[in-house]
């Protein structure tokens, strides 16, 4: 019964608030009528009786509200009331509402995007069973995971801590299913790859350890779901078909499930093949102990084994290997890391960058809240008369504050919704984006429930944050004072407080907001400057008019004895294209895919243990024309000739850093000898200038160039320098190159790109950093404009009368402007200075990502000052115009 009644009243309160309201009104009015009847009977006139009855009844609205509160369900009902009231209020000032919603939409949208990326890359676990126990074996001394295949076998068989260790590497092949062969990326995995990961096939079967019976014994291929869908149109009959991988037949045995993309984030392989067939697509011997070509070794740590125990176990296997194979093994210590971002190699910078970005977007939200807090405080001041009236009529302060908060939260929810919608669109685009077309790289950053929850939470939190700003103001409102002196007087006094000597909360908010925006503008400028400068730096080669074509001859089935002849024919084929000035041939290019390297010993080292090595140097195998074609300057000596082949002594051109590191100077290096890991003595015949090889931010690296005829390579890069000015259309060059190479061998997949495009992968990180910081900077700038504009416009509108009097008393334009806008501009100056200082401190961090991002750059400093000045001018322009157009006559006539 009791429950029924309260349920009923709750129901009525929620769904029929007007009915409840009407009943209550009727009852209270009935009371007053009855009282009036009594008074009338006592001889008072009806109208006087009714008046007295109303007075005796007391605060009608107050008692009605209290009655509502007593009925229960009132929370929701009052909420509905508040929401309706707030909506009405907001509709009355659409400009304010739209500005506030958009401000928040930007801020919350930015946070949702950054959080979603962070969620997808860092927080979301890998899509395999039990991702929490899957670890990559990382070298103890550096963030890398490569191993040799024999070492992997030893680690796998001698450890006691893992449920099966997996080895895998990336394989690029010429994939031929009957049409023209295409270049395709896959993963080669050890036989236990799928079983140890616990993945089940979508179709057919996977390969297993039992399929491995020695070298090239398992010619099976598992297709990724997307390759099966896109290349084979989802044909279930594909199982059992034979496809050619680099001219070797492989049987399709299965299709991987749609959600499995390998274990490295970003890298989406098209297929999976057994590692025992490595020789067929990579062309080299997989069993050499010194060749660390296995990209990653990983596995599930056994239940009950801690990470520390597993690491110790691996280290003991490592020290066994060091002792047993001292010639090839060194530094065999390990640490464990999650495999999805290649351990700490990508994990650390990515985590740091995203954390930084999250911090900046948090600052944006904070700035937006400060901005809206100021606006709300101004609005509350404008409404002090209304607030005072409501207080005088018996409304409780709590109720009025509730109303204000409802307004704030409504705005923040609307802003959050709009921002989230925008961010979903942006994230969809980002997920579909393929940043580096040469590699199968995707960022799957679509938002999930967690992202929506965070956005909602941020919206609510910021609503309460900026809604809380005017609280003190409302609590302090003295209704009698306001009603007595009138709104103008009240606000006049208040504004006097703000623009007098004292620093108020609103001033502080504006300064904080401008400072935050200053940080954002500064760091985005530093990043942009850094990127521009790094593009204009000296790379040790020329970028203009250069086209690259790369392929791997093993993809088309060339054996090592056929390779030099084929490479010679390729060079000759493209050399005769009109407009091509010179053609270089190499196995890789600087700032390209990252080729081979070797330890280097000085000539007098006899014990060639890895620990005795003088340095490790990158190797580029090049043709005689390569250095000239790529625009690399020789500092001393000569480049190679056609006679530096297998029949003549080994020679090398080294770079300046190599010369200094091994020989002490360029002059001493000339004619000197050094040894590489197989003990071969090599003579230096030339020294080339230093350049950038792996990344733009790297320290100078030692590099050696070998004649490609002395150390052949199936990976083939052709570097074509076009003539400047006359002859040849650069647009047609790629097509012409493709046609010429196709006429040599139609089954050879070739990738053609400009030298600029080849830099995409090294420029990816700084570009992403610069773009995201740039966006943040623009958002910060927009926020500071709206903030200053709001402040200035408000101060001018509230002081129009005073300004009018000043003008009437003969004040000059300059004085009027100073009176109206001096304070906001002073706050702007303070905020900008603070922001600039903080920004310069913050951008020290940036220097790690963006090459040459130094905050101590006069251009950046000037740029920031100029930008903030422009923002200030822009934001105060309209209020200033309004202050100057004050007509004292009209103003003084008002009131």
């Amino acid at each position: 019964m009791r429950i029924l009644t309260s349920l009923r009243s709750l129901f009525i309160a929620i769904f029929q608030p007007s009915r409840l309201n009407g009943e209550m009104d009727e009852e209270l009015r009935s009371h007053i009528e009855h009282r009036a009847d009594d008074l009338e009977r006592a001889g008072v006139s009806r109208s006087e009786a009714e008046r007295r009855a109303r007075v005796e009844f007391g605060g009608y609205v107050k008692f009605k509200e209290e009655s509502h509160a007593a009925v229960g369900g009132n929370f929701i009902e009052i909420l509905v009331q508040d929401v309706r009231f707030s909506l009405r209020k907001l509709r009355k000032s659409p400009g304010f509402t739209i500005a506030a919603v958009l401000t928040l939409a930007l801020a919350i949208g930015a946070n949702a995007v950054v959080f979603s990326v962070m969620n997808a890359i860092i927080l979301r676990p890998l899509n395999v069973p039990h991702p929490e126990s899957l670890f990559e074996l990382q070298h103890g001394n550096e963030a890398s995971g490569y191993q040799s295949y024999p070492d992997y076998i030893d680690l796998r068989d001698r450890n006691h801590s893992f449920d099966g260790l997996i080895a895998w590497g990336a394989a690029v092949v010429g994939f031929d299913s009957g049409e023209n062969p295409v270049r395709m990326w896959g993963e080669e995995g050890s036989g236990n790859y799928f079983d140890a990961l616990g993945i089940q096939p979508y179709l057919g079967r996977f390969f297993h350890a039992s399929d491995e019976h020695g070298t090239n014994s398992a010619p099976y291929i598992v297709l990724s779901y997307s390759l099966w869908k896109n290349h084979f149109q989802g044909d279930r009959g594909v199982i059992g078909r034979v496809v050619q991988l680099s001219k070797h037949p492989f049987t399709v045995i299965g299709v991987a499930p749609p959600e499995f993309h390998g274990t490295l984030m970003f890298f989406n392989p098209d297929f999976f093949v057994p590692m025992v067939n490595h020789a067929q697509y990579a062309g080299d011997d997989m069993n050499a102990r010194g060749e660390r070509w296995v990209f990653m070794v990983m596995g599930h740590v056994k239940a009950g084994v801690t990470r520390a125990q597993a690491t110790a176990d691996l280290n003991s296997v490592g020290s066994y290997l060091e002792k047993t194979y001292p010639k090839t093994e060194h530094k065999m210590t390990f640490s464990l890391a999650p495999p999805n971002l290649y351990g700490d190699y990508l994990g650390q910078p990515v985590r740091a960058f995203l954390a930084g970005l999250m911090l900046l977007s948090g600052l944006i939200l904070l700035a937006a809240c400060a901005n809206l807090g100021g606006l709300f405080a101004a609005r509350a001041a404008d409404r002090s008369r209304e607030v005072a009236l409501r207080l005088a009529l018996g409304a409780s302060r709590r109720r009025i504050l509730r109303g204000l908060f409802t307004e704030a939260v409504l705005i923040s929810l609307a802003g959050g919704a709009v921002g989230l919608m925008g961010s979903v669109v942006l994230l969809r685009g980002l997920s579909a984006w393929q940043p580096l077309p040469r590699f199968p790289i995707h960022l799957e950053v679509n938002p999930d429930a967690k992202v929506y929850a965070v956005a909602l939470l941020l919206a609510l939190a910021s609503g309460f944050l900026f809604g809380a700003v005017p609280v003190r103001q409302v609590l302090r409102t003295n209704p009698y004072e306001v009603v007595k002196t009138g709104a103008a007087g009240m606000i006049g006094g208040r504004v006097g407080g703000i623009f007098g000597g004292r620093i108020t909360l609103r001033d502080l908010l504006l300064v904080v907001q401008i400072a935050i925006c200053g940080v954002l503008v500064t760091s985005s400028m530093v990043a942009v400057r850094g990127l521009i400068r790094s593009l204009n730096g000296n790379f040790g080669f020329e970028m203009e008019n250069t086209t690259l074509a790369d392929t791997d001859l093993s993809m088309a089935g060339y054996k090592s004895d056929q390779i030099p002849a084929m490479q010679k024919r390729m060079v000759e084929a493209v050399q005769t294209i009109p407009g091509v000035e010179s053609v270089g041939l190499s196995d890789d290019v600087p700032l390209g895919d990252g080729g081979s390297y070797s330890v280097v010993f000085t000539d007098n080292t006899t014990d060639l243990k890895p620990t005795n090595a003088a340095t490790t140097a990158n190797i580029y195998k090049i043709s005689p024309e390569f250095l000239r074609a790529s625009g690399t300057t020789l500092l001393a000596g000569r480049t190679f000739t056609g006679h530096d082949d297998q029949n003549s002594p080994r020679v090398a051109v080294v770079n300046g850093e190599f010369a200094r590191k091994i020989f002490g100077s360029v002059a001493k290096a000339m004619g000197g000898y050094f040894k590489i890991k197989d003990g071969v003595r090599i003579q230096v015949v030339g020294v080339a200038e230093d350049g950038k090889y792996g990344s733009l931010t790297e320290e100078p690296q030692p590099v050696m160039f070998f004649p490609i005829l002395q150390s052949p390579s199936s990976t083939t890069w052709l570097l074509m320098r076009a003539k400047t000015g006359l002859g040849g259309d650069p647009q047609q060059l790629p097509g012409e190159i493709r046609a010429r190479l196709r006429s040599l061998d139609a089954s050879l997949p070739v990738y053609i790109q400009t030298r600029f495009n080849a830099m995409d992968n090294v420029l990816f990180a700084p570009r992403v950093a610069t773009v995201s910081l740039g966006v943040m900077g623009v958002m910060g700038a927009m926020l500071s404009i709206t903030g200053i504009f709001g402040m200035a416009a408000y101060s001018v509108s509230k002081r129009l009368r005073e300004l009018g009097i000043r003008v009437a008393l003969g004040a000059q334009r300059r004085e009027v402007l100073q009176a109206a806008l001096g304070r906001p501009l002073k706050l702007l100056a303070w905020g900008s200075a603070g922001g600039l200082l903080l920004g310069l401190l913050a951008t020290r961090v940036l220097a790690f990502i963006v090459y040459q991002a130094t905050p101590r750059d006069p251009l950046v400093l000037a740029g920031v000052v100029l930008a903030m000045l422009l923002l200030g001018l822009l934001a105060t322009w309209i209020p200033a115009q309004r202050a100057l157009s004050v007509d004292p006559l009209i103003l003084l006539r008002e009131d």
Binding site: M1, R2, T5, S6, S9, E23, M24, E26, E27, L28, S30, H31, E33, H34, R35, D37, E56, F57, G58, G59, Y60, K62, F63, K64, E66, S67, A69, A70, V71, G72
Partner: protein
């Protein structure tokens, strides 16, 4: 007016229950009944009655229904529920006990200790 006593907090509910226990009443009637039985010795702000009435209905101590008053006007009539009757009995006992104790305490003279 001046010699009317302020209500102790919490006593209004008890007064209402008592007044209604003597027969169904509308809001204004409750007020008149309390005035009548207390000899107008208690000061009750008229409007303050209603939050208390709604609260008692919600607690299930009173039930309300619309009817026609003696003045021929529509009015909402309140009467005790079984629960209300029980509560009135309990609260009355409590009140009497406390009143007796308070009276004893307050009338204690120095020499009696």
């Amino acid at each position: 007016m001046t010699d009317q006593a302020q209500l102790l907090p919490g006593t209004l509910d008890l007064l209402i229950l008592k007044a209604v226990s003597l027969g169904p009443l509308h809001g204004y009637g409750v007020l008149l009944r309390i005035g009548q039985i207390s000899g107008s010795a208690l000061l009750i702000e008229q409007g303050a009655l209603y939050p208390a009435l709604f609260r008692l209905v919600k607690q299930g101590l009173l039930k309300a229904s619309w009817g026609i008053s003696e003045n021929n006007r529509r009015a909402k009539f309140y009467e005790l529920t079984a629960l209300g009757r029980k509560r009135l009995r309990v609260e009355t006992e409590d009140w009497n006990r406390i009143a007796a104790v308070m009276a004893t305490v307050l009338s204690t003279q120095a020499e009696e200790i």
